[in-house]
């Protein structure tokens, strides 16, 4: 927790130094029916380069100098930025601090004749003074990079990327064998629980389903929490520790079956499930979090993981329930748990010493 706090403190404090980043400007737009609202942020340094705002040329731009140039800046933005044939009104400008300096931040409203399904954005700021300048237009969950002044069509509406993140989530839980084994180890005893101090076959599918639901829910909650805090960058433990930890959690779940130590398997699912969330987040980070829809992609990916694990549970639970009174179940339970314990122990070693 201390580490989380330390990182938070840094996020809130001033940035290290003004980075030497190439020049970027940001336009953020929200489309609501036929009205488009947003803001355009341009670095003061870039505006100075294009318009000579530092009127006394002393290298220090004052708020007074800026205010006297405000009409000139607004005219520059109005001339060089258009959205379809929707007239743009610029609002009252202010300033905003980004990591590489202070930016001019001016709200804008564009009014179209009808609700657009696509926008034609023409962005011509600064390219004539800085060819490496980029205009980043954030709209409807996408970031469109403007590299020159040519008109660019941005399609609005449901973006497909949330769907693709759901697919990735499903795919990951099916391919990531360790998560599934962990879950299966935890639900194996559900059809043969301890009651009144004795192990016996479950009476009804309803009881079994309830316990499994508790386990799955606890696992889901736990890995969702760590997935989120890690995906947004609060905590990112080294992957070696996490991967080894996940393997060890599988060992623990399997050994718990053999020793029958902890009956509150949902608690195991919760505590150790925290580790699995970190594992999921590294996959998500690898996929590249789309900047505009962090929350959407997180939820999509997580939903995919849940769907994937639900499908597996639904497939094997009736099977387990059906064979719970047979020798086959006992064999599966003991041999299966033992095998998983051994295999996962090997994984732990491999991952730690890799």
């Amino acid at each position: 927790m201390m580490r989380v706090l330390a990182i938070l403190a840094i996020l809130c404090s001033a940035s290290v130094a003004w980075a030497h980043k190439p020049s970027d400007a940001h336009v953020r737009l929200t489309v609501d029916g036929s009205t488009i609202a947003g803001r355009i942020d341009v670095a003061l340094r870039d505006l100075d380069g294009a318009l000579g705002l530092d009127t006394d040329g002393n290298g220090e731009l004052t708020w007074a100098e800026l205010q006297s140039s405000a009409p000139q800046i607004s005219a520059y933005l109005r001339d060089r930025f258009t959205i379809s044939d929707c007239p743009i009104t610029l609002g009252d400008a202010a300033l905003t601090d980004l990591s590489d300096g202070t930016y001019w931040a001016q709200p804008l409203t564009a009014t179209c004749t009808s609700a657009p399904s696509a926008l034609v954005v023409t962005y011509k700021l600064l390219f004539d003074v800085d060819s490496l300048h980029r205009g980043l237009v954030h709209v409807s969950g996408q970031t469109v990079i403007m590299r020159d002044g040519s008109p660019t069509t941005v399609t609005l509406g449901a973006s497909t990327s949330v769907v693709s993140f759901i697919e990735e989530g499903v795919w990951h839980i099916w391919m990531g064998f360790d998560h599934i084994l962990f879950l299966i180890c935890l639900i194996l005893p559900a059809v043969f629980p301890r009651r009144n101090g004795r192990w016996q076959p479950a009476d009804s599918l309803k009881d079994v389903s309830r316990e499994v639901l508790e386990i799955v829910t606890a696992f889901t909650l736990a890995h969702s929490i760590t997935l989120v805090i890690s995906a947004v960058g609060f905590v990112r433990p080294p992957s070696r520790i996490i991967e080894t930890g996940i393997a060890l959690s599988v060992v623990a779940a399997a050994v718990n079956n053999l020793l029958r130590a902890i009956d509150a398997r949902w608690a195991v699912a919760f505590c150790l499930g925290l580790l699995h969330g970190f594992g999921f987040s590294s996959v998500l980070i690898d996929l590249g979090l789309p900047s505009g829809e962090l929350i959407g992609s997180l939820l999509g990916f997580n939903l995919g993981v849940e769907l994937g694990q639900a499908a597996i549970v639904v497939a094997i639970l009736p099977l387990l329930y059906g064979i719970r009174r047979t020798v086959a179940y006992q064999a599966l339970f003991w041999a299966g748990s033992a095998t998983v314990a051994v295999v996962a122990t090997m994984w732990s070693f491999q991952r730690w010493f890799a």
């Binding site: 290290v16 970027d24 003061l44 007074a64 060819s131 080294p238």
Partner: protein, 402 residues
């Protein structure tokens, strides 16, 4: 440890979990302004005389030149002079805005298939700086075909050809300048080629001797030679000599980012992280310095700053940070497989010794011999000898590079 049935507590814990999830999502929404579509807070300064930004002070002669160019935009010599000054500023400050400005100044000629030679050379220099090596190479080939005696073009061509592993072309360009540019330039030009060709010892002895015989060479060339000498010493595992040469290079030009990075790397490899931090402190505006600061210091502020910068570059579609990204993924995130993937992408763009070491190191950490394959075959083809590379190859179970 025995567990009793938790009974009702179960509900409490699950509820707490749900609360935690909601909390984490809310935090994410607030704390991720750099990632998400949330716009940052705005403000208005309270006083009119408050300084809101530092901008480059205006140079009257430059303003005059720009005004002249604006009134007669066809005057290529004016544009070239202005662009050259901006490229020089880029070199001393590592501020990419100057590079973009130089390109914009040359816009009128930029897209021409055959611009005037002065423009062609600047275009190649800018292309090289933004890692567009094939384009830079094409322009340089054109230049040296027009005028084989253009030393600047030949040296730049040698550098670009070395980066892209076209050693024959690099050597041809080095040979072309040898007669006219002097022994030190010639020896420095071929030093990395001989180093990669498996003769770092011979190249080291030769370059060192030429350097001692050239006390009057200008500082820029001496600095270049000292850095090349250090590279060879490092290849030979003589880190002491390498560090000495690099310190001399930095005495000549404290803004030599290449020499500073190499010195920091050697300090880190030899276990002097604190000295590396001292060497780079206060220079974190430059990405390649910042990534080393983050790794050597593990200071959360540097780590976060580098993370932000990688994210910002990705957002604008830049891929020129692959080296830094791979190092960061390996050393800070401890994610060797991802680091190896990035290092491989980097290797597809540039193939200097540092890039070879990087890919081999990441692949070794990921225990993934296949990922290192391009470097392994490169090492076989060139016969390179390098102490660092040899260590990583040993880890990968590959012979050679010793």
């Amino acid at each position: 440890m025995t567990f009793v049935r938790w009974g009702r507590k179960k509900l409490t814990v699950l509820a707490l979990g749900a609360l935690g999830l909601a909390g984490a999502l809310t935090l994410a929404a607030f704390a991720a302004p750099d990632h998400a579509a949330f716009a940052s807070e705005t403000y208005k300064p309270g006083r009119a005389d408050e300084v809101v930004a530092k901008v480059p002070a205006r140079d009257p002669s430059e303003v005059a030149a720009r005004r002249q160019l604006a009134s007669s935009p066809e005057r290529v010599e004016l544009a070239v002079e202005l662009a050259r000054a901006d490229i020089q500023r880029y070199r001393t400050l590592s501020d990419p805005r100057y590079l973009g400005r130089a390109q914009a100044t040359l816009a009128r000629w930029w897209k021409l298939p055959d611009p005037p030679p002065e423009v062609l050379l600047l275009r190649a220099t800018i292309e090289q700086s933004i890692h567009e090596f094939p384009q830079a190479r094409a322009d340089l080939d054109k230049l040296v075909a027009q005028n084989p005696d253009d030393s600047q073009a030949q040296i730049t061509r040698a550098v670009v050809a070395t980066i892209t592993a076209d050693y024959a072309a690099a050597r041809a360009s080095c040979n072309a300048v040898a007669a006219r540019a002097g022994a030190l330039v010639a020896a420095t030009c071929t030093a990395p080629l001989d180093g990669i060709a498996g003769k770092p010892d011979v190249a080291y002895a030769h370059l060192r001797e030429v350097l001692m015989r050239s006390p009057r060479a200008n500082a820029e060339i001496r600095g270049w030679a000292l850095t090349a000498l250090a590279e060879l010493a490092y290849q030979l595992d003589d880190t002491e000599s390498a560090m000495r040469s690099l310190r001399s290079a930095l005495d000549l030009d404290a803004d030599d980012a290449y020499a500073r990075n190499l010195l920091a790397d050697i300090l880190m490899v030899t276990g002097h992280n604190d000295e590396a931090v001292k060497l780079l402190a206060g220079r974190d505006t430059i990405d390649s310095h910042l990534v080393r600061l983050a790794i050597a210091s593990r200071d959360a502020k540097y780590v976060q700053a580098m993370r932000d910068r990688i994210a910002a570059a990705a957002e604008r579609g830049d891929r020129i940070h692959l080296r830094e990204e791979a190092r960061f993924a390996l050393a800070v995130d401890g994610d060797a497989p991802r680091a190896a993937r990035i290092a491989r992408d980097n290797w597809a763009v540039q193939k200097e010794l540092a890039d070879a070491r990087l890919l081999a190191e990441c692949a070794a950490a990921a225990n993934d011999r296949d990922a290192a394959e391009p470097v392994i075959s490169w090492a076989r083809a060139t016969g390179v000898r390098d102490a660092q590379l040899a260590t990583f190859f040993t880890k990968l179970g590959v012979g050679g590079a010793r």
